[in-house]
């Protein structure tokens, strides 16, 4: 099972990011991972939260433009070369990575990285075949 990521379109004007986090805080939704990609005019905020469906619906009610995407959460050894090893596996399997970012919390001694790839199933297969742990949605939300 994959992890549900929420993408929010943000105009580049002051206070928009604060509006998102305030809304989530009010609804007692916890942010587990986030990243922002931006140009000079707009940005896209990507979130992993403990209650993705609720988060989407409350943000939509507040007028935000939101979409849901499936991503995978991968345990990466927290030592030099750890990420390189995972990327090598994905590269060999011919999996194209759109973007990735790190988790805020930690599951164990391992680091957690969120991958957005074109072929989620293919990526999970390739990683699991090499004994790399890929978290399911419940595990990621529960962190």
């Amino acid at each position: 099972m994959k992890v549900k990521q929420i993408s929010v379109f943000l105009e580049n004007k002051s206070g928009r990011l604060a509006d998102v986090t305030r809304t989530l805080g009010r609804e007692k939704i916890n942010i587990r991972a986030l990243s922002i990609a931006d140009t000079t005019d707009f940005g896209i905020l990507r979130l992993i939260v403990n209650q993705p469906e609720k988060a989407s619906s409350v943000l939509r009610e507040e007028g935000f433009m939101v979409s849901e995407t499936e991503v995978i959460a991968v345990e990466v050894a927290d030592r030099p070369g750890g990420l390189a090893y995972v990327l090598e596996i994905l590269g060999e399997a011919g999996i194209n990575i759109e973007y990735l970012y790190a988790f805020i919390g930690k599951a164990s001694d391992e680091a957690l990285v969120i991958f957005r790839v074109e072929d989620c199933d293919g990526a999970m297969c390739a990683l699991r075949a090499k004994n790399i742990k890929v978290l399911d949605g419940h595990e990621a939300s529960a962190l």
Partner: protein, 433 residues
């Protein structure tokens, strides 16, 4: 120097009798050869015979830009195509341009009119004139070109773009006359400075500036920075192109070539003709055009007419510099842009909502800069950065194709643009602030 003294300094009575004879002919001509005008006159209950004096023209209906658009491309031509030797076009309010056609005689008249306005500005056969208008469907380049040749000036058809090279040509060819939009003249001064050239040392003496409205303040800046005599001229492709009116060195309004264009000023609300000296919308009737005659064309340009004799010796009516418009047309870098054109582009892009805001500003204080804020369609948001970049690029490309000027696109959140009483504020023009 007065190019055509016999006409330009003619007595008012004599001019009016020339105008009346020509007006009778053009009214008859369009009634006989342009079905649109026959139907229009018939439906309004007027007949060419109702024209007994010049002021009877007020009984005839107006021609609007919509009529020009509806008859795209050649519906209003009064001559068969074998007699049309040139086509030009300007932007319409939607995707299709307004097309105009010229006979050989029209081109001959046109170059004569340009010769008049260039002479008014002080240009002679001793001058070297660099034309930095685009040579194409736009009437500016070719229009000025043949008139300046007629005077005997040396013409440098530099066209648009590559400003460094333009400045090099001015320096090396010793150009004394600059033909372009006023904003481009200021931009040139800036680029010259960046090249380490003091723009005041360029050989330019006279500027023939047009294709966009500009203020006295801008004139002072151009003259200060380029050390030349900046003159204004007026025209629109629906009527002829440049050459409808031009400024003499007295600088007390633009002399209208009244023997070819009959001018009226109307109240834009009621359509009533206003007396001289009143501010209103300019309405032109072509008196000699063969290929594309137009009766009472509503320009939507706001001005005032003064028919007193000018200190320069000319007797033709003078129009005040155009200061505004009755519609929402914008002039960006000399190109007419209608908000409706932008709307029609957005209607074709499903990722965008048809809500937009046009922001026009002066980049570095000189060059027009067009930015379009576009609301996104919530339903089509994928969360992918690449998809949004593609949407932005798609809109940019379509806008450039339709508007023929570059626009920057800023994607904004759904429902973020202001809506007032259902009708949004569509345009913010910061250029004159």
């Amino acid at each position: 120097m007065i190019w055509d003294k016999e006409i330009e300094a003619i007595g008012r009575d004599e001019l009016q009798s020339v105008q009346f004879e020509r007006l009778k002919q053009v009214i008859n001509n369009v009634y006989d050869f342009v079905p649109f005008y026959r139907e229009l006159f018939d439906s309004e209950g007027v007949h060419p015979e109702d024209l007994k004096t010049l002021s009877d023209l007020a009984k005839f209906p107006f021609t609007t830009k919509d009529a020009l658009r509806d008859n795209y491309p050649f519906g209003l031509f009064a001559k068969p195509m074998k007699e049309i030797v040139r086509l030009h076009a300007s932007s319409g309010t939607t995707g299709k341009p307004i097309v105009v056609g010229y006979t050989k005689n029209d081109l001959e008249v046109w170059s004569g009119l340009i010769a008049r306005i260039a002479s008014m500005a002080g240009v002679t056969h001793d001058d070297i004139a660099q034309i930095c208008f685009s040579y194409g469907l736009f009437t500016g380049g070719f229009g000025l070109h043949y008139g300046l040749e007629k005077i005997g000036a040396t013409v440098v058809p530099a066209s648009v773009g590559n400003t460094e090279k333009q400045i090099m040509l001015i320096q090396d060819f010793k150009a004394t006359v600059l033909v372009c939009t006023p904003s481009y003249a200021l931009y040139m001064a800036e680029v010259a400075k960046d090249m380490g050239i003091d723009p005041r040392t360029l050989p330019l003496k006279t500027g023939l500036f047009g294709a966009e409205p500009w203020t006295e303040n801008m004139r002072a800046q151009i003259e200060e920075r380029l050390s030349l005599n900046a003159t204004d001229n007026y025209g629109l492709s629906e009527i002829m192109g440049p050459g409808v009116a031009g400024e003499c060195l007295v600088r007390s309004g633009l002399h209208i070539n009244e023997d070819h264009f009959l001018v009226e000023v109307i109240d834009p609300e009621t359509g009533n003709v206003l007396p001289d000296g009143s501010e209103g919308e300019l309405v032109f009737t072509t008196l000699t055009k063969e290929g594309f005659p137009v009766i009472r064309y509503r320009t939507k340009d706001i001005s005032v007419i003064n028919r007193e004799r000018c200190v320069c010796g000319r007797t033709t009516a003078r129009m005040r510099k155009v200061t505004g418009r009755t519609d929402d047309m914008l002039i960006i870098c000399g190109v007419n842009v209608f908000p409706s054109q932008i709307e029609s582009v957005l209607m074709e892009v499903e990722e965008a909502a048809p809500h937009y805001l046009i922001v026009v500003d002066k980049k570095k204080g000189y060059l027009d800069d067009l930015e379009v804020h576009v609301e996104l369609n919530r339903e089509k948001f994928t969360g992918s950065f690449r998809d949004l970049a593609a949407v932005e690029k798609k809109i940019c490309t379509k806008l450039a194709n339709v508007l023929t000027v570059k626009a920057r696109v800023k994607l904004v959140e759904p429902k973020s643009l202001e809506r007032t009483m259902g009708k949004a504020v569509r345009v913010i023009d910061r250029r004159n602030q």
